[in-house]
Amino acid sequence: MELEEKLAILADAAKYDVSCSSSGSRRRNTPGGTGNASWAGICHSWAADGRCISLLKILMTNACIYDCEYCVNRRSHDTPRAMLSVEEIVRVTMAFYRRNYIEGLFLSSGIIRSPDYTTELFLQVARTLRERERFNGYIHMKAIPGTDARLLEQLGRYADRMSVNMELPSERSLRLLAPQKSRQAILSPMKFIHDRLTEAEEEKRARRKPAPFVPAGQTTQLIVGASGESDRQILRLTEGLYRAVGLKRVYYSAYVPVIRGAHLPVIARPPLLRENRLYQADWLIRKYQFTAEELLPETAPDFDLELDPKACWALRHRELFPVEVNRAPYEMLLRVPGIGVQSAIRIVKLRRYGWLSADSLRRVGLVWKRARHFLTVKGRYYGGGPSLRNDLVSVKTQRAMREMSLFEGQV
């Protein structure tokens, strides 16, 4: 099989893994070597679905010994299979990287023979890139559940980031849709990576230089809409993962009905808006000091698809608003719809020099149309009125809702 054909099959098979970021690592260029890592990460292209392409995201092979019902690469699925050799992966990565097509490599795979065997092949790729090619770009490697800790340790020395995909948000759906995987098998590599990272932190605190180990941390992915969990269940799981194993990111992948299965739901379109709301809530937890409980209390276990989670929260807590923009603490400014991290920081910096007026506030970079309903400026309130709800629904959502009503049903 031609290399190009293999690449086509294996890109096809990798595309449902949504993680794409190349951030969190400061790997330097070594003398005579190629590349470095950018702390903020760099997007290199955007595919026809609007998702960014940062890394060469590819499977080593799409042949797999497992038969997970939701997965396009499951053993019983009739699909063309291919496998890339270590040399081929290295060659394509280097050629793409030099041309600035990509930030690095994101390698995943179906399970060949055993998790250990597959991981050993990953290790060969990583070692060849780092040692022979002196490649200092970004490497994201899948940690396969069931792999020996010693192999994960070795792989972590070369990788910038590792991820273990949880895929199904509850033990029950895991048993139903992926009977060959157990929750314990998924959690244990996560736990191992977390422990190693904590050790490295302690080393650093003791002013020793720790051995390199996944400097950009670990991530995971959850499929949304393939099983029956509520948004609240998913978000609480996310929060738990951030706290317990210090994940850098949780990614959400709207279930795309490409294959059939007895336990899979029949839906017309992937639940994109729901996925979007989960990402918004995820950011509110990581960057805005919200908790899952606040965003989705027991009484409202699913997102309002029309309003973003922050606006929903603010409307449920009208008693806290409006706040005076010139006095409110930073933490409260963050909770105002229409104010983001950047604009909250600017407001705090600017008001050291004097009181902000409504006119100057509009040039701070906040979304005045939304924020005005929750603020007073020098004691004066500019919001209220019948347009409140309408101002909070984004134009994009309004369009999406209209489109959806044409299709009816699955959201």
Binding site: A14, S45, A48, G50, F96, R99, L350
Partner: protein
């Protein structure tokens, strides 16, 4: 007095230097290049001298700090019409207000400068990802860009760090300027003629085709969203992207 300078950033700083030397109250305008003779004003041709430009830049940095200096430079590179007079106001206010310049960022004169700086910065950031090198016959990595703002000087340090060990060139075909890295020094030069003798290396076409294939296959058909793609990757950049080539 109208100050005419050569259109470069150091040239502009020299105009500011002379304006301060002559007294800022007499400044009627700072203009790039020759223009129609003014009937009622006096004109002077500003000489670009690195030492003077350096002194003005250092003074502004000392008084107003790093962020404010960065805005100044990036706003200049945005190449907006009448940039000189906006930036001259900005600098005069900066020398007067010093660090408190930040407190005035929501006033229109500062806000405009900030918006320009942001546009330049955003385009430079985008191009760090969207630049596409091609391998030439002699091994050089060569990229063409045609950015809206003059971002070439903001791109080179990134690639110097990243591809330090091999020679590369980035060519702004719109402004007819190029940056060239020979693995030791960085060189900027005017390139008046479009080179039509460029010969790709033997592997180049195959690699581009491979990338195109990958690009097409990585998209999820059920999630097609051309508007979203355009908002991240505006069509004005497609011309230089091998993946957007319509060929099969």
């Amino acid at each position: 007095m109208i100050y005419r300078y050569d259109g470069t950033f150091p040239g502009f700083l020299c105009a500011v230097y002379e304006a301060y030397h002559d007294g800022t109250s007499g400044v009627e305008g700072i203009c790039a290049g020759p223009g129609p003779a003014a009937l009622f004003s006096r004109e002077t041709a500003v000489q670009t001298r690195e030492d003077r430009a350096g002194r003005v830049a250092a003074a502004f940095y000392r008084d107003c700090g790093r962020a404010a200096s960065q805005w100044l430079y990036r706003a200049f590179l945005a190449e907006e019409p009448d940039r000189e007079n906006f930036l001259f106001t900005y600098m005069r206010q900066g020398f007067r207000l010093k660090r408190a310049l930040y407190a005035h960022r929501t006033e229109r004169w500062a806000w405009t400068v900030f918006q320009w700086a942001q546009k330049t910065g955003a385009e430079a950031g985008k191009l760090l990802g969207l630049i596409r090198f091609s391998e030439l016959e002699e091994g050089l990595l060569y990229a063409e860009i045609s950015p809206t703002h003059d971002v070439l000087p903001l791109l080179t340090s990134h690639f110097r760090r990243r591809l330090a060990a091999e020679p590369w060139a980035i060519h702004d075909v719109r402004r007819k300027r190029a940056a060239f890295w020979d693995t030791k020094t960085m060189l900027f030069a005017d390139v008046p003629e479009q080179a039509d003798t460029i010969r790709w290396s033997g592997k180049e076409q195959a690699m581009r085709r491979m990338w195109r294939t990958y690009y097409r296959r990585i998209a999820i058909a059920d999630r097609q969203n051309p508007a979203l793609r355009r908002s991240f990757m505006p069509e004005k950049y497609w011309h230089h992207l091998p993946e957007m080539d319509r060929r099969p």
